[in-house]
Every structure is written in structure tokens, then in C-alpha cells.
């Protein structure tokens, strides 16, 4: 026993270092796995609060681009409404029976108060949290395209796993055909992401639009992602399909969080299938 104390006494500096280093490495490894929710994240009231204050100061810097984006989205939505007005007047049916009417998605507006895009694994911080009905695993988009998925959440803040993260894998497809792939990022350029797992029978061209596939319960189908920039076709396989993102990930401000009301139903059904 005395020797044990002597040992601890002699090596206490090294043992302290070892304990602290193991804590740090455990946190790092947890950060690299998608499943585990992180213990250390910026969605707490101290860092969230500080980022919120600072972003309210720097807000006016990107007001101009934000206004432009909003105006563009308004034009798009107004045109879409006009296109859909061309219906047969005799066939208009009012939906009064609410039992037949199901709202699948709801959008909540939030603001990015801390944006990262230069690291290998990027996270964003949002100024809304549990109080505003946000949950883990909700999709985050803006009018230009996909941004990420909510990963950690506190009372008033949330962190978002950006598409610029090695853990981000989003189901996407070609707009012109129903060939699905996965959106990943190789960490080099924040304007350019990659698609893997595109089947080789798919015909792709430079300039083809990529949209979300809607196979997961996170994103609805048809949200813009980007256009194909270049690709290689080797050994009958598509290699390195680079796509340039519609979103400028370096200047993000207001975003929409998507709540899927049928998520539990879909997930439950898929789980049942797994066990059979």
C-alpha cells in the first residue's frame, strides 16, 4: 500500500497528464461518431449566449445579401403560386374534412449565430432550441439549398452538423432521373461537395442538378443541393463526382428547420421491417 502511495506521489504529474489526456481523447472520439451525442458543444447557454450577442452586432453586415436572397425566394414562390392557379374552375374542392388532411412538414425560422466552414468537421450554432420545438435530427435548409442536420440541443440553442463535415451523409438524387446517391465532403473546398454510390447505369452530365432524395425522414424530396461540376468514369464506376453547391456556406444567416410530423411513423415502420 505504501509503495502504491509512493508510486502515485512520484508520478503524480505524469498521472495527472494521463488522466486529462484520456478525457480529451475520449471527447474527441465521441465527436467523431455520428450516433453519440456530444458532451461538449456550443449549444449551452454560455457559448450560445456569447455568440448570440456577437452575431447581433455583426448582423447588419449581411443584411444586403440576406434581403436579396429573400426577394429571390419571394419571386420564386409567387411564380409557383401563379403556375398552380391554372386549374379547372369547376373542379375546385375545398378541404374541410380535417381527418383527410395531413400536414407532413412544418418549417421554423432560425438564425445561424456561429458559422464554420474552414475546418474538416464543421458545426454551426442556431439561436433556437427545445423551447422553440426543435429536436435532434431535424433538417436545416435555406432557400438556396441544404445546410445540415441538428446534432445537439439545449433550451435556447442548437448545433447543426454541417454538410461540410466528415460525418454528414445526406441522401440525394439526380433531378432528371431517379438515381440516388450520398452527399459527402472531402474537406478541401467549401464550395464543392462530392457524391458517392451513384449506380453506374445512371447517365450523368456536367451541369446536372442534384436535389435531396427524400428517402430519409429528415429532408423532404426536391430541395436543391448543387450542380455537377466534374466527374471521372473509371472501370465502369463513377469516381469523384464533384458538385458545386448552390449555397455559399461561408455566408449563412437565416435558415429554416424542417419538422417532419410523420417521422416516427416512417421510422417505426422501417424498424419493424428490420426485425422481421
Amino acid at each position: 500500500m505504501q509503495q502504491l502511495f509512493y508510486f502515485i506521489q512520484k508520478f503524480r504529474y505524469f498521472l495527472l497528464f494521463l488522466v486529462l489526456e484520456i478525457i480529451a481523447l475520449t471527447l474527441t472520439i465521441k465527436n467523431h461518431s455520428y450516433q453519440q451525442s456530444k458532451f461538449i458543444n456550443s449549444a449551452n447557454f454560455i457559448s450560445g449566449g456569447i455568440y448570440n450577442q456577437v452575431s447581433s452586432i455583426s448582423d447588419f453586415l449581411n443584411l444586403k445579401s440576406e434581403n436579396k436572397r429573400l426577394s429571390e425566394e419571394n419571386i420564386r414562390l409567387k411564380n409557383w403560386v401563379e403556375e398552380n392557379k391554372q386549374v379547372d374552375v369547376n373542379n375546385i374542392v375545398a378541404h374541410i374534412d380535417t381527418s383527410k388532411y395531413h400536414q407532413k412538414y412544418q418549417y421554423i425560422s432560425a438564425k445561424i449565430i456561429n458559422n464554420n466552414y474552414s475546418k474538416r468537421n464543421n458545426f454551426l450554432t442556431l439561436n433556437k432550441g427545445v423551447k422553440q420545438n426543435l429536436k435532434i435530427d431535424l433538417g436545416v435548409i435555406n432557400s438556396k439549398g441544404v445546410i445540415g442536420v441538428i446534432k445537439n440541443i439545449s433550451k435556447n440553442y442548437a448545433t447543426v452538423l454541417s454538410i461540410l463535415n466528415s460525418n454528414s451523409k445526406i441522401n440525394v438524387r439526380l433531378k432528371k432521373s431517379f438515381h440516388y446517391g450520398t452527399l459527402v465532403w472531402n474537406g478541401k473546398d467549401y464550395n464543392i461537395a462530392q457524391i458517392t454510390d451513384i449506380p453506374r447505369q445512371a447517365t450523368i452530365k456536367v451541369g446536372d442538378t442534384i436535389i435531396t432524395g427524400g428517402k430519409s425522414a429528415i429532408f423532404p424530396e426536391g430541395i436543391n443541393v448543387g450542380v455537377i461540376k466534374d466527374f471521372k468514369f473509371e472501370k465502369n464506376q463513377y469516381k469523384e463526382i464533384n458538385i458545386s453547391l448552390f449555397n455559399d456556406m461561408s455566408s449563412l444567416s437565416y435558415v429554416q428547420v424542417i419538422i417532419n410530423y410523420q417521422k416516427n411513423e416512417q421510422k417505426g415502420l422501417e424498424q419493424n421491417n428490420l426485425y422481421e
Binding site: R12, Y13, L16, F17, L20, E21, I23, A24, L25, T26, L27, T28, I29, K30, N31, H32, K38, I40, N41, S42, N44, I46, S47, I50, Y51, V54, N114, N116, Y117, S118, K119, R120, N121, F123, T125, T159, S166, G187, K188, Y190, S250
Partner: protein
């Protein structure tokens, strides 16, 4: 003595705030963000009780990691340079015993100070990128990021230390 503690607390807070609010968003040439928080290890008084440096560095790292959502990579890196600070300092000064109480980093010649800062910064940056990429197939990106980020971190902390610390007689 209390003045020394006060000065270190202020330095701790300022380093964290400057790192997470200013230097994490510099994005020089698109992606370079200097890690100025390593100056904590350079400037922490050299005492016989080395455990305090480890503990404070740990908390500094945890704070930086919390703000930048990086898990524990900055903590792991700063702990290693905090642990090896004294051996590296002895190596740079080419002597093994010196006066712990009166020692001040500004008493080093500029060459030695620069070398000391460079070695520690390089180790720290390398560990940060190694743990961030977590994949040996990205070794090219890890090395290029380490070199570029180190250069800017070394320049900023070297001139920062020259500007903001006083030379003791």
C-alpha cells in the same frame, strides 16, 4: 503575487475570447485560422508546481473546444505541449537547471524565444489537425494545414508576446 494571479486570469479570458470570436473567423486564404490560445503555455509562469499549468491548460482547451464544437482536439493538443514545455525549454536553452522563480520568457534571446514558440506551436497544430482529420489517407491535407496554420500562429504569438509583455530586468 495576487497581481500575478489577476494578470493570468485576465490573460486566460482574453485568449479564449480572442480565439473563438476573432481568430476562429479570420479564414485567411479561405481556411487558415491561427491558434493563438497556445500562447497560454508560453506565458504561464515557470514554477516548480507544474500541475497547475496542466489543469489550467485543460480548462482552456475545453473552453475552446466547446465554442468551436471540436470535441476534445484542442484540449488534447494543448495538454501535450503543456506537459512537454519544460523539457523543450531546457532543450532550447541548452541547460537543465535554471532559476524557476525568477525565470521570465522574455529573458530568452529572440532566436531562442522564436525557436521555443515554433516547436510548441508546431506540435500543437499537428495534433489538432491529426485528430480533426482522424484519417491517415488525408496525411497531405494534415501536413499542409499544419505548416500553414503554424506559420501564422507562430508569427502572431511571437509578435504578440513581444508587444504585450514587459521585459524584466
Amino acid at each position: 503575487m495576487s497581481k500575478l494571479i489577476f494578470r493570468n486570469i485576465v490573460r486566460f479570458i482574453l485568449l479564449v475570447l480572442f480565439q473563438v470570436l476573432v481568430f476562429n473567423h479570420i479564414n485567411l486564404f479561405g481556411y487558415i485560422n491561427p491558434f493563438i490560445y497556445v500562447s497560454w503555455v508560453f506565458l504561464f509562469p515557470v514554477r516548480k508546481s507544474k500541475s497547475l499549468l496542466l489543469l489550467t491548460s485543460f480548462f482552456l482547451g475545453i473552453l475552446i473546444d466547446t465554442f468551436s464544437d471540436t470535441g476534445g482536439i484542442h484540449t488534447a493538443a494543448i495538454l501535450i505541449i503543456a506537459y512537454f514545455r519544460l523539457p523543450i525549454l531546457e532543450m532550447v536553452m541548452r541547460k537543465t537547471d535554471f532559476d524557476y522563480v525568477l525565470f521570465n520568457i522574455r529573458n530568452l534571446t529572440l532566436n531562442k524565444l522564436f525557436l521555443f514558440i515554433s516547436i510548441l506551436t508546431f506540435i500543437d497544430t499537428f495534433i489538432v489537425f491529426l485528430l480533426d482529420y482522424f484519417n491517415f489517407s488525408d496525411i497531405g491535407s494534415i501536413i499542409s494545414n499544419t505548416i500553414l496554420t503554424s506559420i501564422f500562429t507562430i508569427l502572431i504569438s511571437f509578435f504578440g508576446i513581444l508587444l504585450f509583455t514587459k521585459k524584466h530586468k
